[in-house]
Assembly symmetry: C2
Homo-oligomer: 393 residues x 2
Amino acid sequence: MPHQSFHPPERTLMGPGPSDVNPRVLEALARPTIGHLDPAFVGLMDEMKVLLRYAFQTEYSLTMPVSAPGSAGMETCFVNLVEPGDKVVICQNGVFGGRMKENVERCGGVAVMVEDPWGTAVDPGKTDETLRAHPDAKILAFVHAETSTGAISDAATLAEIARKHDCLTIVDCVTSLGGSPLKVGEWGLDAVYSGTQKCLSCTPGLSPVTFSDRAVEVVKNRKTRVQSWFMDLNLVLGYWGSGAQRAYHHTAPINALYGLHEALVILENEGIENAWQRHDLNHAALRAGIEAMGLSFAVAKADRLPQLNSVMIPEGVDDAAVRASLLQAYNLEIGAGLGPMAGKIWRIGLMGYASNQTNVLFCLGALDAVLSAQHAPIESGVAVEAAMQVYSA
Amino acid sequence: MPHQSFHPPERTLMGPGPSDVNPRVLEALARPTIGHLDPAFVGLMDEMKVLLRYAFQTEYSLTMPVSAPGSAGMETCFVNLVEPGDKVVICQNGVFGGRMKENVERCGGVAVMVEDPWGTAVDPGKTDETLRAHPDAKILAFVHAETSTGAISDAATLAEIARKHDCLTIVDCVTSLGGSPLKVGEWGLDAVYSGTQKCLSCTPGLSPVTFSDRAVEVVKNRKTRVQSWFMDLNLVLGYWGSGAQRAYHHTAPINALYGLHEALVILENEGIENAWQRHDLNHAALRAGIEAMGLSFAVAKADRLPQLNSVMIPEGVDDAAVRASLLQAYNLEIGAGLGPMAGKIWRIGLMGYASNQTNVLFCLGALDAVLSAQHAPIESGVAVEAAMQVYSA
């Protein structure tokens, strides 16, 4: 029995990512492939670096997309900066801090954890104390926007604390890039990685990274070789560096880069401050609807990400049945909770292209209908109107 | 000055890869993105494994695409199988054997090299001798089809020698998969990696891999943790494994996987033996034209890959000028030589969708015209007809 072409269902993606992709990005993916050493492609790479610097709000020279998903971007930061025996202080307030620990240990480093409850921001005071107690720490690593919980942390303050203790920072900005204010240069972050499938309205598969000159110096002056050949920035830079030195390293994912370039052109065209405001507005509308239904958020207002809304699952409601019903009957994907939050929250994403009025109203209407059908204790029939009041204000 | 959408030139890609992409694959890339835990996507993953097993000609359970380019597929094989202190015998007859050495050393392993001249096949006798001299070797690594030279090696015989010495094999099949007979199961290869941008007619960015049960046992029984979190098969398997155990590891590059699935459906539809024959036929036609022009091949006939033709650059011809002229005036990309073969050969790819009659005739005509304009010592005006005689036979 021969296999057939795969035609995916048309979903509305309002989970933790991938989020809805801008149709312009999908169209760009299908453009004709060219060689990875073609002068036209080299021009694309040069533009990409400029556009990524805009998205990250930095002038760092080493700014480029890693040719693999966000978790490879994370690993690129750790394997290049951590040498055996290096001490890294890691702030954990969700899934991804734990993954950072895994990375440090696999590099032969020593991880010192600063634990905060899931769903809260990283505590700068505790971080400061920990760094003081570990004066030999080389790096502070933390997550700017925790995709597993929807909490944002104060990256500017954490970076300032790190500098005070003469530490580099490694910062996970997978979910913040393009959705929440992120000012890599002004805040002086040192090694930052992100993903394409969240607030950039692009498909998954690439990981934009940016490194401060200070971090690049550390990479260049390592005592040991980077344990990964694929992720060794000393080699990757020969390819993504300036024209004269360009050397073959690996074959770049050409068409995926067409898509990212298009997504970044769209972001530049909108203006990054406007993108941040759009994420705020749609979050406010969703929040109005969620609260009008009588539901509540898992994250305190001050720490809440606009692009990832963790909503408490009401008592007696069947988590999996609600999500399955939304997916099957409405073609609407929302996310489940992870780890200790599994079964307790839904994660409703309003990321990038998915952060729009239609999605907010559609999601509220669908959630209202599905919860009502389950006889959930909610106020039915008021959410959409509450959200519309925000848009009309 | 705002940036604009990128519209690539329409090239004919006859270099060492990426090669021409089947338009059906490009179209598939642009289909709507769905979530990486969506039941529909899980179905796609299951089909992908079946289709990849067909392409590799194996029943190995662990068969899947790594979410990154071929060099990450290579690294996936080495970091999972090599532990610190392990001895690996590597056959080098081109660029990629050297990269294998880099990988072994970065895993803390000891590389023992078997050197053969660039452009020749790996010598089984020398390999056997080396393994006999190193009875503590754990792995034999070699390249099936050397993309840097266009030489094919006898993978079946090399694997048999490895088994005799109780070694696992790691085999680079980046350029052979879909283009030359490759029978992973019958030959008993243990860890095989490939790329999508060569004979599969797909875009670059993914690396299909397949592991024998024997290799999987070695991975599962490691004394040390795999140094890469992203490439650790113990974790990746939780995601690509069977349905019940499926656990989030990283966000798969959804749309790139649509493209690979489509490419594999096309291959299944053509039939893999037919694809091998097509590559042979177009190579024969190109060869007839090349030889009619008075040009010669860098690789002896018995070792020659049909999908990668290394043609000697005639005396007095400006390598870079010819390639630039082909690219600029004809939109035709052919490849340069690498390493010791730089400036001495051109690499003309006839891979996947690019292996067709139109490309062969177009390339011969263009090469004839450009070389004639450079007053190269060739027989002009006969190449296309010589190739046509092969097609008419």
